[in-house]
């Protein structure tokens, strides 16, 4: 059972994000980075499958130098080796280009299952997983909360939460699934894991190694502008006796906030 996990390094969810002067990107200095939380579910699920069915877990990530650290974290959790797609020409890769580059890089590899997070929490595009499955021409199931491998290891059964209910799907392998919160509880990288990770391989693939050039890596989707969420406005205190104040609150909720 060879499993590939696609992982993106994203700004720490607790980090304060500032928009760059040109309004098209974010200030990266002073920002700390982490493994995309949804990708952690993917890594954990891959490790659990490997523990049951054997095989290998490979983590692949596209990103600048710093992404090595996120790959290392996944190796410390227990993944066997890493692949780092890194090239100056990849720096502006949009989700479409990213999916195509991943598809190219993976086309030469041996895999039964590809796991992705359902979305990266930085751009929330929810794009790369499905586009990669399309690129590879394999079946996919998105936003899964449960995964079971068939006895014969030829298919997986997954559960998805859908509006008001639950959907169960079966997919023949090889397939791609994207992980939703609730799929599992990711393990913490332990000291033994971190020490072992030192000895694990991270293979770097540049544009030539992936087999792309020029137009292949040219941005297809342009960011027009980024703007911060509006600042929270001051709260309102309703004075007076509780019974009076409640009446006023209900009125405001109805008329001003239109919440009722």
């Amino acid at each position: 059972m060879n499993i590939i996990v696609c992982m993106k390094q994203v700004p720490d969810t607790a980090a304060r994000i500032k928009i760059k002067g040109d309004g098209k990107g974010i200030e990266t200095s002073g920002v700390s980075y982490v493994v995309n939380p949804y990708d952690e579910y993917a890594v954990e699920e891959a490790l659990r499958l490997k523990e049951k069915a054997g095989g290998e877990v490979v983590v692949i990530s596209l990103g600048p130098d710093r992404a090595t650290e996120a790959i290392r974290t996944c190796l410390a959790m227990g993944a066997d080796r890493g692949v780092h797609l890194k090239d100056p020409s990849f720096e502006d890769a949009d989700p479409f280009v990213t999916a195509q580059l991943l598809a190219k890089a993976l086309s030469g590899m041996d895999y039964d299952l590809i796991l992705c997070g359902k979305q990266a929490v930085d751009d929330n595009a929810c794009f790369v997983g499905p586009a990669l499955a399309e690129g590879l021409g394999i079946p996919q199931a998105t936003v899964i909360t449960k995964l079971t491998l068939a006895e014969d290891a030829k298919s997986v059964t997954v559960e998805r939460e859908v509006e008001g209910g639950r959907e169960v799907l079966q997919l023949p392998l090889p397939a791609l699934v994207t992980a939703q919160k609730g799929l599992n509880e990711p393990r913490y990288a332990s000291l033994p894991g971190i020490m072992k990770a030192k000895k694990k391989e991270i293979k770097v693939m540049d544009a030539a190694a992936v087999g792309v050039s020029g137009d292949d890596v040219k941005q297809k989707i342009e960011t027009v502008s980024l703007s911060p969420a509006p600042e929270r406005t001051a709260g309102k205190i309703i004075p007076g006796e509780p019974s009076e104040a409640v009446k006023e609150l209900v009125r405001l909720l109805k008329e001003e906030a239109k919440a009722l």
Partner: protein, 571 residues
């Protein structure tokens, strides 16, 4: 370990020397060590955010098993154990950083992990034989066994020589009897490092000497007393441990018979660093929480963060924390070198950090206003948790005496030699010349050349007061000779002077590295912190130096005496 010819930055200061090579460049972890540490801290932080609930631990007075188990699984019980014994061979710096991270969340958890390895099994690590290490360390590394350090007794606290516990040799074992109290991890431990008096032959005479033993829980005759009801660190286990006719096999002797005092001192030397780093963690949390509050809380129509008295407190917290952090990790770096005596530096780090974190918490709590006093916020708990730091692993008083007296030993010995030499100048010319030479080099050469020139005002102050420290030392030795050991007012001042000099040096070294690595602009805040800290520090040094001659010591003693006589408020 603290042998005579090992270098020591602070002991050299007492001779007016600045051993620059020991403190420049600042010993930041680099390369693979730094990368690994980053991963470890990420993971520990994530674990704590998910699983460590400080308020509940305080209320329920226990750490959930899931947390202790989780920490063991993360590998945090064997951080400093060599890989050959199933540990992870972390540096002191990395170890301290993990304790710091745990302390950001909860002091009880940090004390449990620290009590286990900073002191619990540290004696085994430092003094154990190969066989002993093979036997016990792997189990301790995984957390299958927890360790505790049993030194303090009802009648022997700071005066560790006054132990009552005894161990009497009976053939292939010792019979251990005694009561230990306030044992950290007492209720959890399977492995106890125990100190007891044994009879030792000293030049044909039987003398009582302290000896260290490794006692394990399965040995019959051990009783764990009830959990103490404490002001803070309530989730940690603190109990009496009573040993009644416990048969301890001879092979469980730790170090040589009669050498227990040295074992205890060495263990505490490095153990104190863990404590100091814990203070840094607590301080960071206090800064974060109080600053968030200051930005949000509005009074008189604007956030209180805009008021200068709040800003003053914020700045003071940051300066204090930076100074504690700089001293602690410098000292951990010295410990990692393995070839220097860092006993004074670790005592300074402990005293300085535990005193300062109390100030930081006080400032943070004050910024919080009424909220800070309430249980819903972490500040009152952090304050309760932090109070023990000034008491355990050597009270700050006993450590100040240690810092001063250990430092004075150097100049003291030389004065004896000089006194002798004056009687017989020709015969002892060699020694005298040596002393004279030392005097000259210390006056001429002891400059700081590796600090950034932007910090010149600051490092010149270090040089200036490093020249004055030996004069102060010699003055008090000449004046009081052997009686100096009783002159605690003066010793405290000397200890404070050398502490401030050391911490200034640590801060200057660290900021120099920051300037080199990030450039002046990015290091601006750190430069400001350095200038502020050094300004306060050199003024304190100057005041302490002056007060060696001009002080109110006698009046203070009189007030204390009349109070003691009445055993009440004397007025």
């Amino acid at each position: 370990m603290a042998e005579k010819d090992e270098r020591s930055f602070c002991k050299a200061l007492f001779e007016g020397k600045i051993d620059e090579e020991l403190v420049f460049p600042y010993p930041h972890l680099t390369g693979e060590d730094a990368e690994n540490l980053h991963l470890i801290i990420d993971s520990v932080g994530k674990f704590c955010r998910d699983k460590v609930h400080g308020e509940a631990i305080d209320k329920e007075k226990r750490i959930p098993e899931e947390v202790i188990g989780g920490l063991s699984e993360l590998g945090l019980m064997g951080m400093i154990i060599p890989e050959a014994y199933s540990g992870f061979a972390l540096t002191q710096r990395a170890y301290c950083r993990v304790i710091e991270e745990l302390s950001c969340f909860n002091a009880s958890v940090a004390v449990t992990v620290g009590g286990h390895q900073s002191i619990g099994f540290k004696g085994l690590l430092l003094f154990g034989t190969e066989e002993q290490k093979q036997k016990y360390l792997p189990r301790l590394a995984t957390g299958e066994w927890m360790a505790a350090f049993c030194l303090t007794e009802p009648g022997a606290g700071s005066d560790a020589q006054g132990l009552k516990a005894t161990a009497v040799r009976k053939g292939d074992h010792y019979l251990l009897n005694g009561s230990k109290q306030w044992v950290t991890n007492g209720g959890l431990a399977d492995f106890f490092t125990v100190f007891a008096q044994t009879e030792v032959d000293v030049k044909g005479e039987k003398k009582k000497r302290v000896t260290a033993f490794m006692v394990t829980k399965e040995m019959a005759g051990i009783t764990i007393g009830p959990e103490e009801k404490k002001m803070g660190i309530r989730g940690s286990s603190t109990t009496p441990v009573i040993f009644e006719n416990v048969k301890v096999p001879v092979e469980n002797l730790l170090g040589e018979e009669g050498n227990g005092f040295k074992v205890a001192m060495e263990v505490l030397n490095s153990g104190r660093l863990g404590l100091a780093s814990g203070c840094v963690g607590a301080a960071r949390t206090m800064i974060e929480t109080s600053v968030a509050h200051a930005k949000e809380r509005e009074q008189f129509g604007r956030p209180i963060a805009e008021f200068e008295m709040i800003q003053e407190k914020i700045a003071r917290m940051v300066v204090n924390t930076y100074a504690m952090e700089s001293a602690t990790y410098m000292t951990a770096g010295l410990a990692d070198r393995g070839d220097v005596d860092f006993s004074l530096e670790s005592a300074i780090s402990k005293v300085f950090s535990t005193d300062r974190v109390w100030e930081v918490i006080n400032d943070a709590l004050q910024i919080m206003g009424g909220n800070g006093y309430m249980e819903e916020y972490p500040h009152e708990r952090f304050m309760r948790d932090a109070r023990i730091n000034m008491i355990f692993e050597g009270t700050n008083e006993i450590l100040r005496l240690f810092i001063a007296l250990a430092g004075l030993q150097g100049p003291g010995e030389k004065l004896k030699e000089v006194a002798q030499a004056i009687k017989d100048p020709l015969h002892n010319f060699g020694q005298l010349a040596d002393y004279a030479v030392r005097k000259i080099t210390s006056l001429a050469g002891d400059r700081i050349s590796r600090a950034d020139s932007l910090l010149e005002d600051e490092y010149r102050r270090v040089e200036e007061y490093a020249r004055q420290l030996p004069d102060a030392a010699e003055k008090v030795i000449r004046r009081y000779r052997k009686k100096i050991v009783e002159k605690e007012f003066l010793l405290e001042r000397i200890a404070e002077m050398v502490s401030d000099l050391y911490v200034m040096t640590c801060v200057i070294s660290r900021v120099t590295s920051a300037i080199q690595e990030k450039g002046v602009d990015a290091a601006e805040t750190e430069i400001h912190i350095c200038k502020t800290f050094c300004n306060f520090a050199w003024r304190r040094i100057r005041r302490n130096n002056r007060m060696i001659d001009r002080n109110d010591d006698k009046i203070l003693v009189d007030i204390a005496k009349s109070t003691l006589e009445k055993a009440a408020y004397p007025v």
